[in-house]
């Protein structure tokens, strides 16, 4: 029975809003002993579970009685798994040790040789040196390869350990010696190896790019979640022992992306997810937390989020000492030591450690008295002890209800000795002199002679040696080699165009937006017999903004647990429906998380052998500008799918102002090599681009992905003009011609997105008010025209003897003369990018500058992209060519109602 504080007979504690210090000194050791003995007795008689229950009740009672003490989010600074609970080690430890030493050597030699051949080429020795045991235990006992339709484990290798992964792959004959010697020299004869994991560069090897730090762990969380999604939707059989492993560094946890989604992993009970954080306490410049304890900090964060946390801090050498530590002195000493100090011990002799660590209390000195200085200096950290690491991994794969994080303490540059073990400079260390190489060789027992040592040769034992046999057997037992990326053909039959005729038929007088038209298309695609179930709509809490609320009922919002409540709008047609087999990923307000889901879905062709079709629909301003790095990673990963930039256009999104009005994304999109970018104006254009995109990505299986902007301005959608589909896909087509005869001047007007309609209006103005004829072209993709133009230009440069090729923009405007005036809702650099391929003088009008809250008409006047400004630009260019009288320009400005003294929009 619980008591309210007031009803308690005990005197109420001093009321305070602050925390009461838990360690204010032990004033009554006898009482402390009694309590501890009582607890011990419960543990002995009734077990740990009962003890935990009582402690929980005590905590609750204390809280209700007004006692506030600091959070218990952390546990003591010792291993989570006590020595007595460790499982027996299943492998041959001696062979594994020798193999690990050989791999260590070859990883180091790879970097050292690369930098001798080519000084400054870079590379990292010390990251793998610190993590070798973590990887080797995982490779020998845990990480599953891919077999048949079984996806194996998806492993996010920490980017900086690449030399170690290559060294192992070389032993297994997966890469050649030549490649290994060409580490970081990918363009050399015989091929080389990429610095870090990049599926784009090594598509049969790497699966996940991880060196934009923080993105690996973030993507791993959503990958694990997406694996559940596929199973829950019945698209994939449950591969219960397939897991997502993310290896990362403690310094990497300072990136907000690393920890930013950990609550999702716990909320979704991702028991298929394991983080292994290599806590070497060291980052590039110095200690990760010199004045604190990174392992404790991370433990608190992960435990608070609901993860299963396993700390691997001390090696087996410490077990006897900890066993002696009945009164907790040693543990308290471990708890109080800051990381900066602990790093000092690594670089100092055993005598120093004895004096400064154990010397803090005579009883501790006594405890270590039987150890020599040499033994003291070799008291290992847990992450270098295979027994401890194995126990942690085993507990992790047995976790049933939560994701697991393993915090393994290691030494950066382990084994480098004077050359960098635990030193501040160690991350950058890439050169070892002959003495240092000899020390490394001796420490790890590599059979290389003194004569050879200076050359840092690679070493591989004979194929029939016990080491090599063991190496192969272990991988065979676990289903094959890792990392390994597959690209099985998972061709989908593309949707039949005739089934989509209504999307090309125009809106029959109704005014709709391209967003509405697209959402309708998406809804139709989701019911398509051939592709429907593979579509994954992803929204960052903006479904209603995009008019997608009808999807809730129709397709359901994915939730592993279904819907545990009756939604507030359950009496309406469009109620908020969550379902275990829901198709929509409603990610909440996280573009980074949504993009990670997009990547997991868009790479399912490789990771699961299923071509999934993700559509990520978001506020366009928060895409390439906000999460450009994830989109870059998507390109690297050969991700397929559609990024749909909604509410796009600096002047088309009215009212929202500076932060939301996107005039930038099409500029950023130019830089992503395999991202196709489109700014369509009409519903039929969007439909053609999407349907052709599905064909290219999922039938032709091209490793490309799409960025398509959608607008929320309502206007009538015309019918697809005959013969325009090729132009829509390739970037432009002629939409409207006003030829006023040979005596009248003529201009070429390029319009795109919602601003195309301003170009059409300018055509009217030019004809009716100034007697100027024009062609209007709808430019759906400047990027497509630019890439095509450059390709032609390059080919012509390299093939001067052959018939020159003509860029697509030139083909479309064949026979026309300038001037050419482009107008779009993005910065002018976007249309200007195609200037080499337009006939005659070229002017581009765009929306450079900060947006602001206004209505569309005023915004377009402000940014000078409306029909009147387009018309004026055309007249000025004609005047420069003496095709229109210069003397009439001033009156034209007046006639068009333009203000010549208006400030330049980029400046205000």
């Amino acid at each position: 029975m619980d008591h309210h504080p007031q009803s308690d007979s005990a005197p109420a504690p001093t009321p305070t809003n602050g925390l009461q210090p838990a360690c204010a000194g032990d004033h009554d050791p006898q009482e402390t002993t009694e309590w501890l003995e009582a607890l011990e007795s419960v543990i002995q008689r009734e077990g740990g579970q009962r003890a935990a229950f009582l402690l929980e009740r005590l905590k609750e009672k204390a809280f209700r009685s007004g006692v506030r003490f600091a959070s218990s989010a952390t546990t003591p600074y010792i291993n989570t798994i006590p020595a007595a609970a460790e499982p027996p080690y299943p492998g041959d430890r001696e062979i594994e040790r020798r193999l690990k030493s050989i791999i260590r050597w070859n990883a180091m030699a790879t970097v050292v040789r690369a930098n001798r051949e080519s000084p400054g080429i870079g590379g990292h020795i010390s990251s793998f040196a610190s993590a070798a045991t973590l990887y080797e235990v995982a490779f020998n006992h845990f990480l599953h390869g891919k077999t048949g339709s079984y996806p194996g484990d998806q492993v996010y290798f920490q980017g900086h350990v690449a030399p170690g992964i290559y060294a192992r792959a070389w032993l297994l004959d997966r890469i050649s010696e030549q490649q290994l010697l060409n580490f970081r020299r990918e363009l050399q004869p015989g091929g080389g190896l990429s610095s870090y994991p990049h599926p784009w560069l090594m598509p049969d090897f790497w699966e996940f790019p991880t060196v934009s730090m923080g993105l690996g762990p973030l993507m791993a969380i959503y990958q694990a979640r997406f694996n559940h999604y596929l199973v829950d939707r019945g698209l994939k059989a449950d591969a219960a022992d397939s897991r997502v492993w993310a290896f990362l560094g403690d310094g990497e946890c300072d990136e907000p992306e690393t920890l930013g989604a950990i609550t999702l992993a716990a909320r979704e009970k991702l028991n298929n997810l394991i983080f292994v954080i290599n806590c070497n306490l060291q980052r590039l410049d110095g200690p990760v937390r010199g004045n604190g304890k990174i392992i404790q900090e991370l433990e608190g964060a992960f435990r608070g989020a609901g993860w299963n946390v396993i700390k691997v801090i001390w090696g087996s050498d410490w077990d006897p000492l900890l066993e002696q530590d009945q009164d907790g002195l040693l543990v308290r000493r471990m708890n109080e030591l800051v990381d900066g100090q602990e790093q000092k011990y690594i670089a100092m002799p055993g005598s120093y450690v004895r004096e400064h660590f154990f010397g803090a209390d005579p009883r501790l000195l006594e405890m270590a008295a039987h150890l020599s200085d040499e033994q003291v200096s070799r008291l290992r950290r847990g992450g270098h002890d295979p027994v401890k690491v194995y126990a942690a991994f085993k507990a992790a794969v047995e976790s049933t209800d939560a994701p697991t994080v393993i915090l393994a303490k290691t030494i950066k540059g382990y084994g480098l000795g004077e050359a960098g073990e635990g030193r501040n400079i160690t991350h950058q260390q890439k050169k070892l002199n002959e003495d240092e190489l000899r020390e490394f060789r001796d420490r790890f027992g590599i059979p290389i002679s003194d004569e050879e040592i200076g050359k840092a040769p690679l070493y591989r034992p004979p194929q029939d040696s016990p080491e090599m046999q063991y190496l192969r057997q272990r991988r065979e037992a676990l289903g094959g080699v890792l990392p390994s990326r597959r690209s099985p053909s998972a061709k989908l039959s593309p949707p039949k165009w005739e089934d989509y005729a209504e999307f090309f038929a125009g809106s029959e007088g109704r005014e709709v937006s391209t967003t509405m038209a697209f959402v309708r298309l998406l809804s139709r695609l989701m019911r398509d017999d051939s592709v429907g179930k593979y579509v994954v709509p992803i929204v960052p809490d903006e479904s209603r903004t995009f008019g997608m609320e009808a999807f809730f009922r129709q397709f359901g919002i994915y939730s592993h647990v279904g819907q545990l409540y009756e939604p507030v709008d359950s009496d309406t047609v469009l109620y908020y429906r969550e379902a275990t087999d829901g198709q929509i990923l409603e990610e909440g307000i996280t573009e980074a998380g949504s993009m990670s889901s997009f990547i997991a879905a868009g790479t399912a062709h490789s990771s699961h052998g299923i071509n999934m079709i993700p559509f990520f629909i978001y506020y366009s301003m928060f895409g390439l500008q906000r999460i450009g790095d994830l989109i870059w990673a998507a390109g690297d990963m050969r991700c397929r799918g559609f990024l749909m930039g909604g509410t796009a256009g600096r002047t088309t999104l009215a009212g929202e102002g500076l932060q939301h009005q996107d005039g930038n994304s099409h500029l950023f999109a130019l830089a992503y090599p395999n991202l196709l970018a489109y700014d369509p104006c009409y519903a039929y254009e969007t439909s053609v681009i999407v349907l052709d995109g599905i064909r290219r990505m999922y039938y032709e299986e091209e490793d490309i992905f799409y960025y398509i902007t959608l607008m929320n301005e309502n206007y009538e959608m015309p019918i697809l003009p005959l013969g325009s589909t090729e132009g829509i896909c390739r970037g432009m087509y002629k939409l409207s011609t006003r030829d006023l005869g040979p005596k009248k001047p003529k201009v070429q007007l390029l319009g795109s997105g919602a601003i195309l309609r301003e170009s059409l209006r300018a055509q009217e103005i030019l004809e009716s008010q100034f007697g100027v004829g024009s062609n209007v072209y709808s430019v759906t993709s400047y990027k497509a025209l630019l890439y095509d133009g450059r390709d032609c230009q390059r080919w012509n440069r390299l093939h001067p003897q052959e018939k020159p090729r003509t860029a697509y923009a030139q083909q479309v405007m064949q026979g026309e003369t300038g001037p050419v005036v482009a107008a779009c809702d993005y910065v002018t650099s976007v249309p200007l990018s195609i200037s080499p391929w337009v006939p005659g003088p070229y002017v581009a009008l765009g929306t450079d500058g900060f947006g602001r809250s206004e209505a569309r008409k005023e915004l377009r006047r402000f940014f000078e992209v409306d029909a009147e400004n387009i018309a004026l630009a055309a007249l000025c260019e004609l005047a420069a060519q003496d095709k229109y009288p210069k003397s009439k320009l001033a009156s034209a400005i007046q006639k068009l109602g333009l203000d010549p003294d208006k400030p330049n929009p980029v400046t205000v």
Binding site: E502, A550, Q563, L564, V573
Partner: protein
């Protein structure tokens, strides 16, 4: 038994829509949950599902009509054994 199916509450803040497509015809047998009409509201296109299985005996709306919540959409003759529901199919029961 024939029931007149009226446009139910669509969602918060949505009171009417324009019929952009009629998905069934008079005399057609339909299943519960099958789309009857597509309505376009301010910014969304919504498919209105049939509350019950049966035969469409009368269409009260046609393409281009503006329909308000509560206005009859179709009359449905219930299939044998099917119980007419008052509104849209209810959400799955909480576990």
């Amino acid at each position: 038994m024939t029931t007149e199916f009226k446009l139910p509450e669509l969602g918060e803040n949505i009171h009417s829509g324009d019929v952009v497509k009629v998905l069934v015809r008079e005399g057609q047998q339909i299943a519960a949950g099958q789309g009857l009409v597509e309505l376009e509201t301010d910014k969304a296109v919504i498919e209105i599902p049939s509350p019950q299985a049966g035969k469409v005996v009368k269409l009260h709306v046609q393409k281009g009509d503006t329909v308000k919540v509560g206005q009859p959409l179709v009359s449905i003759e219930a299939a044998a054994g099917a119980k007419p529901a008052a509104s849209a199919p209810p959400p799955q029961k909480p576990a």
